[in-house]
């Protein structure tokens, strides 16, 4: 395809548009990915916080039910007390285990994963100690089992508190991460926009020079010819319409030089003729 002015302009501006499109796409992609990352961080932090609070509620409920069972087992009878309190407490402990396992899966750091892992282990120990303490309470030999139960209940409580703290920290650190992300996005967007601007500016300068330099040369040549100076050289800068114009101009100047020289010769001949006659 011939590099005509039209093709240069179409190609140049299409290139600039394409470039701007690419830059805009990079900018949009960057902002969207930053936003996605911030939302994901916030979602994980909030979820961990909610789970840790839920664990604490289940823990308190389990221990309340276990205490009620210990107090009521003699009055109500083992069967009824188990149905009313112990089965419910077991359910609460099971909930604690499954919530802690889920939290360990989504926890963002090893430290927080360990925190929730400890809750699972403590809940497991608590369940066993509760079972032993319940059996001991039913058979009136609750001494050692009750002490073991108290110990595991204390550990589960501590682990749940640690989990609650880990959840709170995750929520706070997610807010800090969002702030960091939003701060990082500002120079990124500004940088990408500046890059696009510089590239578009460079493309416009190249395009303008490709057209303006040959036009300026032709203007200078035309100016000289109009003042009677035919000793000029017309350069063909490009293989486009301006190049064709330069060729036409060159042909015209050559023809003018030739005809002027012819006219001069004829004038000289005419001037010589009377002398011959004389």
């Amino acid at each position: 395809m011939r590099p005509t002015i039209k093709n240069k302009l179409v190609g140049g501006f299409s290139g600039v548009l394409l470039l701007m499109g690419i830059v805009a796409a990079i900018g949009v992609w960057s902002v969207l990915s930053l936003r996605r990352s911030a939302l994901e961080t916030a979602r994980v932090g909030d979820r961990l916080n909610a789970i840790s609070l839920e664990i604490q509620v289940h823990n308190l409920e389990a221990q309340r039910l276990a205490t009620r069972y210990m107090l009521e087992v003699k009055k109500m009878g083992a069967q009824k007390a188990r149905e009313q309190y112990l089965d419910e407490a077991d359910f609460e402990v099971h909930e604690i285990e499954s919530l802690a396992a889920r939290a360990a899966l989504i926890a963002p750091s090893k430290e927080k994963q360990d925190s929730f892992q400890r809750i699972t282990e403590s809940a497991n120990e608590y369940a066993q100690a509760l079972d032993a303490a319940a059996k001991a309470a039913e058979s009136d030999s609750s001494g050692a089992a009750a002490t073991a139960y108290e110990g595991t209940a204390e550990r589960l409580h501590e682990a749940a508190e640690d989990g609650e703290m880990a959840g709170r920290e995750a929520s706070q650190s997610s807010q800090a991460a969002i702030e960091r992300t939003s701060k990082r996005s500002v120079p990124l967007v500004v940088g990408v926009s500046l890059l696009g601007l510089l590239l578009a500016l460079a493309a416009c300068i190249i395009l303008a020079r490709a057209i303006l330099i040959p036009v300026e040369h032709l203007r200078e040549v035309a100016e000289k010819v109009s003042l009677g100076d035919l000793n000029i050289s017309v350069r063909r800068y490009s293989n486009d319409e301006i190049g064709d114009l330069a060729d036409s101009f060159s042909r015209m100047v050559t023809a003018v030089k030739f005809f002027r020289s012819e006219a001069q010769s004829a004038e000289d001949e005419q001037a010589a003729m009377p002398e011959v006659r004389r």
């Binding site: 060159s250 042909r251 050559t254 030089k257 030739f258 005809f259 020289s261």
Partner: protein
């Protein structure tokens, strides 16, 4: 198309409206009539055109014109 017409077409690219008069002048130099121009005259015509055209245009363009006239051979 006669040799003269072919030479004229080439010359018009360099001399425009002056081409006809220019070629007639070169034919006169090589002592032939434009209508009598044949391939045997082309070498002489190219040489003469190169020298004469050099007075009105760049040497490189004049040489290019001579080269094109020679290529008709």
């Amino acid at each position: 198309m006669s040799v003269y017409d072919k030479v004229l077409v080439i010359s018009k690219q360099y001399l425009g409206p002056a081409a006809e008069k220019f070629i007639q002048r070169q034919c006169k130099h090589i002592k032939t009539e434009p209508t009598m121009l044949t391939a045997t005259h082309l070498e002489q015509l190219a040489w003469s055109s190169k020298n004469a055209a050099g007075l009105y245009m760049d040497e490189s363009k004049a040489a290019e014109l001579a080269q094109k006239i020679m290529s008709l051979k």
